[in-house]
Point group: C2
Chain length 582, copies 2
């Protein structure tokens, strides 16, 4: 609403004239089969567009200064990703824009939680500036839990006043995923400060497996949705309690198949889609919100309800009343499809303009920030030694395509008072190294499930504090992987037999590349091949790696402070003893 | 959001403790059969309430400092009247509050259009002040079309800047029914000024029978709903074009029976209920939104979808995200019913407090305003003479329970160069007298359908300019009725044979009584009996009378400027000739 009243009146006059057909419309999509998500009907119609708004539907005789022949196409509203950390696409916001908008995602509601954990308010400001320049409508929910927990060391902190200082930015919707639900239940003062500061605003939830009275208490504080739902029963309780369930399908958090049968017209207003964390390779190969739509429909979800969920329901759940429907007065955010059931995107129109290379060339985006964020001197192999009392102890059990882990207890080779990795039973050593220059912490443990038979992989992308995380069969390769990562100032590294075999630099806050998305994709391909050669057949090994430190998610996790019993929110030793948190 | 953060934190802590059952809740409704409008399920549960919020559902073991036994009751969310002119209840806003809230209407979205036409911005301020004191949540949409048209003389004008000056009041939602759609289509500057000033805000529509490209153009300007829909096909086109259809049932605008079969879960988000104009007698005898619910269900509308329409869908269509569902974190606006299907209200809880006499006794409401608003000297019978060219001319045809009229052409008794009323064919003389002290205009015509065989009735309540309107069988009784009305400074009057037989004073702007609602009801009963004795068997003769001057509604109307061809928006003479509007 920065335009003045005179300009708006000029726009209104043009809309009236074009809607009435007194003059040609700016753009007309002729004779397209339009899916109306309000009624579920598909009907052939022209769609007339003036400026950024639709001005005519249900008419077969509009004329445009520019016309698109829609006779072989379907038209649906632009898709909305209701919860995404664009940093997980490993590219700058402008590159995420290019990837996702081309797939039909015309609005994304971003939580710049990753960069905020490294850079604090500077990270939020970077994303707000980017959001003013992207071709898609990038909206921001302010990262509510930085740090996410006291059980790890983040680069920065955001308190209630930091968040309030950005609250009135036109791109801000409200508060992003309030993941510290234990803090809510414990009436933590700093936690309640943030909730109180956003009283009456939109507040995103994050409450995996929470139910019963604890869920009641969490909701009583104004939380409105959850993207961490993995089971149908969990979804039903949450919908009964008024939550909007944001069905997620990220790169390891693959929930759409399990939750697709929730989708119908009755529940649709209480559903939406999100990607949360999706790599650029994954977007390029499988898609973005388009993937969730086609997967849900393939699983039997009713088509019209699925598209309503991806568009209108998503928009309304976040207070976006100007989009989500193809109707006069609504934003001309339109996806053209060659097939409705399989959601094959043939073209995208954002705010009335067909999206093409020129769309992206003309943007004004901020220069990248956050170089030099890996504040750590080179390490040596001895740093990874794991002295403990005996062969048996806790081991993190990876669950492919889930961010939940299992808490295992296994016996491992034990020599010289140290427990060791055991590739024979698919157990690697894992370590998390604080990298923000605060305390040099190192947390050590073991993890089962990577499949790596020899070597090490390291990453500076590790939820949520984004310390360095490394797993390996031996301490020497682990040290080399970490040192290469320090040299790159962030990224992904794969080491075998004392040699760096492949890497991807991520110098922007240790999270994002400053390369074009296609170059990042190519390097991720190469890394995937390298990891397969090392024995790892996970779809997304670096994403699974990145979730190992996420201590807000059950069951056993690891941070720079050590192993975390994520069910009870305390640290444990390699021998399984509880550690009092300072 | 006037509370400070410390107070909010104190609230949040109490909610958390009560939701978890650490302490007793402020109020618990025990073992009630709750209709969940999110899922359509009815399940027995406790509802725990802390302060003004629900903090617990789907639990059978809450304890409260106060408890209500719900075992014989159903619980549903508080009802929302999405479009109402409380002036039509003929009582002060505080009395409307008492009438409607007791019937389960916990939120009403008011357009103080009537008082604004008489008193201008002072009328809006009076309602905003009242809205801060009512027990129900009275929200205000700012009256967008004062005057409603150039075809009549109103007491006041509101321009875009007047409306903008009140836009940020916490009770304001946006712009009320934008009835001047011809002005939109004609790109009238003052009309577009208002739309431009509210660009991006909520804008209520009003577009009876509008369809096709004219509807597209109207919607392209940001209008979002319509309460003037009377036909199913009209509703379907409007829903297809993204409008929310506010199904109305007022005192003469009885649309719920015709539109009930639109209601289902798919369309519910694009529907809501409203009363628009309902007399206190009508509310007392038939009900308020509860009446619409029971009537829709009786006509076959699915129960859960009907309740969703009356609550959640209504709330969301107006950006009210804190209500419309019985779930933790939502406002504790609850209606207790002895029967769900017939919507028998057994109790009402507003913001966590059971509604009783004390609820209303404790309110702080503004003193009435607008006394002395009938600025007109006594008249004599000669004022009503109707010289014209011959016996045949236009006659307004009343349609019982509709505000649309028919445009008839009839032959009437013609003597001395004057046409006369003809009770034999149920045709009366009608006149509208400007009463705001601006020009003393008198418009004259004939109307068929009142049934009055002898005498006259007059009113100072006449949409939208609220000039004096009088109908009668003879000029003498018409003059007496008008003079009594001037003496009362507004109201309803019935005269027979040179005697005032019954009246109701409405001294607040000539629109509202300063009596308690029950006294107004009693007098309305007496007036109804009087009118029946005069031969008039309309359900609501004074409401039908009040709509005769509404020139925005088809087909033939009358204002202080004369007869109006409402289809073509111009004046006509008693001989049917078109008059150029100055």
């Amino acid at each position: 609403m920065t335009k003045n009243r005179t300009d708006i009146k000029t726009n209104l006059k043009a809309r009236i004239d074009q809607a009435l057909g007194r003059v040609d419309a700016d753009l007309v999509i002729r004779a397209v089969r339009m899916l109306n998500v309000a009624t579920g009907e598909v009907e052939r119609t022209d769609i007339a567009i003036c400026g950024d708004k639709i001005v005519g539907t249900y008419d077969d005789n509009y004329r445009g200064r520019r016309e698109i022949d829609g006779s072989d196409l379907f038209a649906v509203p632009g898709f909305i990703d209701t919860h995404v950390h664009p940093e997980s696409s490993l590219v700058q916001p402008g590159e995420f824009d290019r990837l996702a908008l081309s797939r039909g995602t015309t609005t994304a509601i971003a939580d710049p939680h990753e960069i905020s954990n490294v850079l604090g308010i500077a990270g939020l400001r970077y994303f707000l500036e980017a959001a003013e320049g992207t071709a898609m409508d990038l909206r921001i929910n302010l990262s509510s839990c930085v740090p996410a927990s006291a059980l790890e060391t983040s680069g920065a902190r955001l308190d209630a006043d930091d968040l309030v200082s950005l609250r009135d930015h036109p791109k801000v919707i409200g508060l992003a995923e309030f993941m510290n639900f234990p803090g809510v239940l414990a009436k933590d003062e700093a936690v309640l400060d943030k909730l109180a500061a956003f009283d009456g605003w939109h507040i995103d939830g994050h409450s995996p497996l929470l139910g019963g009275r604890p869920l009641n208490a969490y909701l009583a504080c104004g939380v409105r949705n959850c993207h961490e739902v993995t089971h149908r029963d969990e979804a039903l309780e949450k919908i009964r309690k008024g939550m909007q369930v944001l069905i997620r399908d990220g790169s390891v958090t693959r929930d759409v198949e399990a939750l697709a049968d929730l989708i119908d017209m009755t529940r649709s207003p209480f559903l939406a889609f999100c990607t949360d964390d999706r790599t650029p390779l994954h977007i390029a190969e499988d898609g973005h919100i388009d993937y969730l739509i086609r997967t849900a429909i393939a699983k039997g979800a009713p088509m019209a309800a699925t598209y309503r969920t991806a568009t209108w329901s998503a928009a309304r759940g976040f207070g976006l009343t100007d989009r989500g429907l193809l109707a006069p007065g609504y934003l001309a955010d339109i996806v053209l499809l060659s097939d409705l059931e399989s959601c094959q995107v043939a073209g995208v129109i954002k705010s009335g303009r067909p999206v093409d290379a020129e769309t992206f060339a003309g943007r004004r985006l901020p220069a990248p920030i956050g170089y030099g964020s890996i504040k750590r001197a080179p390490v040596d192999a001895a740093l990874f030694r794991t002295p403990c009392a005996g062969p048996t102890g806790p081991v993190i059990g990876l669950v492919p395509q889930k961010i939940i882990t299992e808490a295992l207890v296994l016996s491992l080779p034990y020599t010289g008072g140290e427990r060791h990795a055991d590739p024979g039973q698919d157990v690697l050593k894992v370590a998390v190294l604080e990298r923000h220059g605060h305390n040099g912490n190192v947390g050590r443990g073991f993890v089962k499930g990577f499949g790596i038979t020899d070597g090490a992989i390291a990453s500076s992308f590790g939820h949520d504090a984004h310390n360095i995380i490394v797993v390996g069969t031996n301490d020497e390769d682990m040290a080399l992987a970490v040192n290469r990562l320090i040299e790159l100032q962030g990224g992904f590294v794969a080491v075998v037999g004392g040699q760096v075999r492949q890497d991807l630099p991520l110098p922007i806050a240790g999270l994002m590349s400053d390369w074009p998305a296609e170059d990042v994709e190519r390097r991720l391909h190469a890394l995937r091949e390298q990891l397969r050669a090392m024995g790892c057949h996970l779809d997304e090994p670096f994403v699974q790696l990145a979730f190992l430190p996420l201590s807000m998610i059950p069951h056993l996790k690891i941070t720079d402070r050590g192993l975390v019993d994520a069910d009870h929110h305390h640290l444990i030793t390699l021998d399984g003893d509880r550690v009092t948190v300072g």
